[in-house]
Amino acid sequence: MSQGIDAGPPHAATVVARTQESPTIFTLQLRLDDAATQAAYRFAPGQFNMLYLYGVGEVPISIMSDPEERDVIGHTIRAQGRVTQGLAALQPGDQVGLRGPFGRGWPLQEVSGCDVVLVTGGLGCAPVVSVIRYVLRRRERFGKLVIIQGVKHAEDLIWREQYDRWATLPDTQVLVAASEGAAFWPWHVGRVTELFGLANFDPDCAVAMMCGPEGMMHAAADSLLARGLPESRLYLSMERNMQCAVGRCGHCQIGGAFVCRDGPVFNWGEVKALLAHRGF
C-alpha cells in the first residue's frame, strides 16, 4: 500500500489542535515536523498509526481524518491506559512520535456504486468516521449510506451534531441507540441490535463495515447475513494488543493472522471461526 514512515524510530510530530469530544475522549490533530515527510504521508481509511508518548511508550490509534486532508493527521483517542492518559494531557505545540500508517484499511475501492452500511459501537466509530467522510466527499460514487451506531450510555455518543447533520442528508440513514438514554435523547433507547431490521439497503449491492465490541459485531453480522448480505461483503476492524505494528512482536495474532499487518480490517469469513471462541 502506501510508502509509510513505519520502519525504525518514530518521526517527531506536533499537536496542532486538540478537541475534547467527551469527558474521556479527545482528538489530536498532528502534523509531522518534517514538512517533506508530512507532504509524502498517505493513508487509507481503516489504517492506524503508532503514537509515541515521550518516555512512556507507543499505542496504536486509527486515523480518523480524510485521506485527502494533507496537512494534518487526525486521531480520536479514549484516555484509558498509561499512554493514552498521557496523550490526553498534551496541548497544541507539544510533540509526540508517529509511525505509520499500518495494516489493511477498508475495501473502499470495491464499494463503488453500492450501498454502504456502517455498524459501530462505542469508540468503534473513530475508524468508521473516516469512511463516512470519505463517502460524503465522493457521494456520487456510492449508493445509500446507512450509519448504525450503538453506545452504552447516551453521554458516550461523541460527534452528536455530526450525526444530526448526517441524518438530514439525502440517501443517508442514521440509526443510533443507547442502552441507557438521557434527557433530550432523540434516538432509540435499547440495544443497537434492535435497529438492524430498520436498516434500508439493497443486500444485492451493499457492503457492510463494522467496528466495535466483538459481541456487538457478532450480532450485527448475524442480522446482516440474515438480511441476505453475502459474507464476502461483510468487513470488520479488529482490535488486539499491538506493540510493533509490523507483524513481529506476536501479541495481536488471531489464528494465523497478525491483526496489525493482515488487518485490522478483515473480511468476516477470515475471522468468524475464531471469533466464536473466546481467547483468540
Binding site: 508518548l53 515521550y54 518516555g55 512512556v56 498509561r82 499512554v83 492518559q85 498521557g86 494531557a89 507539544d94
Partner: protein
C-alpha cells in the same frame, strides 16, 4: 540537563514509615547517584531516613512503607491520605501486611508475655494489615524490599504524568530473559518463582537459590499446581504451607493456597 523544562514545578514528595524494617526506604537511599539526580527533579519534603522531616505537610506524592499495626498507625494513615495527591504503597508490609502479618490470627496475650520482658509496653493491633485495607492506594509496589530500579521507574512515570507500569508477570520471565537455567528443573528445588511477581530481576535464582516469594503473588498464580509439584519434590504438607506463609503470608492468594493445603492434609 540544561534544556528548559516544560514544567519547572517540582512535585512535592514524602516518604512515610509505618510498621516495617526501613528496608524499602533504604532501597531509595541505596540508589546513590541516581537519587541525587532524582532529588533535582522532585522536592523531598519528608523522608526521615534521609533527613527532611515534615510529616504533616501537603504533598503531591506520598510513598508509604510499612503495615498498619498499631492504633496510632490507623489515625496517621488517614491523615497522610488526606494530605497526599497520590499515595503509593511500597514493599511487602504496605502491600500485604508483611512478615509481621504472620501474627494475624495467632496473636494472643500469652505470646506477648512470653516474648517481651515488658509486655505492658506492647500496644499492637491484633492484625497487621496492608495500607489498602484502610485508605485508597493509587499504586502498589511489591517486594521485600522493593528494588531500586522499580522505584526509579515509578518516580519517572509520575514525573511524566502517567500511571506507573504494573508488571504482574512471574519471576520466571525475568529469570529466563537473564538466561538462568531453572533450578526447579536442574536441582528439584522448591522455587516460588512460578507464582511470584517479577521486579527483583530474579535475584535469588541468579545465585542458584530458590525464590521465596518476597514480591507477592503474580497474576494468575497457579498455587495449587505449584503445591502439587512441591509435594512431589518431597516437601511435607507443612513445608509447602511454609513456602506460602512467609514474607507475604497475608496476601489473599498465598493465604488461600496455604489454607487449601492445611484443609487437604487434615482430610
Amino acid at each position: 540537563m540544561n534544556t528548559p523544562k516544560a514544567d519547572p514545578i517540582k512535585p512535592r514528595v514524602a516518604v512515610h514509615k509505618f510498621s516495617s524494617c526501613d528496608g524499602c526506604q533504604l532501597a531509595f537511599l541505596n540508589l546513590g547517584e541516581d537519587l541525587l539526580t532524582l532529588a533535582g527533579r522532585v522536592e523531598l519534603v519528608h523522608f526521615a531516613e534521609a533527613g527532611p522531616l515534615d510529616p504533616d505537610t501537603d504533598v503531591d506524592v506520598a510513598f508509604v512503607e510499612g503495615s498498619v499495626s498499631t492504633a496510632e498507625d490507623l489515625e496517621r494513615i488517614q491523615h497522610i491520605r488526606q494530605h497526599s495527591g497520590l499515595l503509593i504503597a511500597i514493599g511487602a508490609c504496605a502491600t500485604s501486611g508483611g512478615i509481621q502479618g504472620l501474627r494475624n490470627g495467632v496473636f494472643g496475650e500469652n505470646w506477648v508475655t512470653q516474648i517481651y520482658s515488658h509486655p505492658e509496653a506492647i500496644a499492637s493491633l491484633e492484625r497487621s494489615t496492608p495500607i489498602s485495607s484502610h485508605v485508597k492506594v493509587d499504586f502498589e509496589l511489591w517486594g521485600c524490599p522493593v528494588s531500586g530500579p522499580q522505584m526509579l521507574a515509578v518516580v519517572n512515570s509520575l514525573l511524566l504524568g502517567v500511571t506507573p507500569r504494573d508488571n504482574a508477570d512471574k519471576v520466571c520471565t525475568e529469570c529466563k530473559r537473564r538466561g538462568y537455567p531453572c533450578i526447579m528443573v536442574t536441582r528439584g528445588i522448591a522455587c516460588m518463582g512460578p507464582v511470584t511477581r517479577a521486579g527483583c530481576g530474579a535475584l535469588c535464582p541468579s545465585l542458584g537459590r530458590d525464590c521465596y516469594g518476597c514480591y507477592g503473588p503474580a497474576e494468575n498464580a497457579n498455587t495449587g499446581a505449584l503445591a502439587v509439584q512441591f509435594r512431589s519434590q518431597g516437601l511435607s504438607p507443612e513445608a509447602v504451607v511454609q513456602r506460602f506463609q512467609s514474607i507475604n503470608s497475608q496476601a489473599p492468594v498465598f493465604l488461600a493456597a496455604a489454607d487449601r493445603i492445611r484443609i487437604k492434609s487434615h482430610d
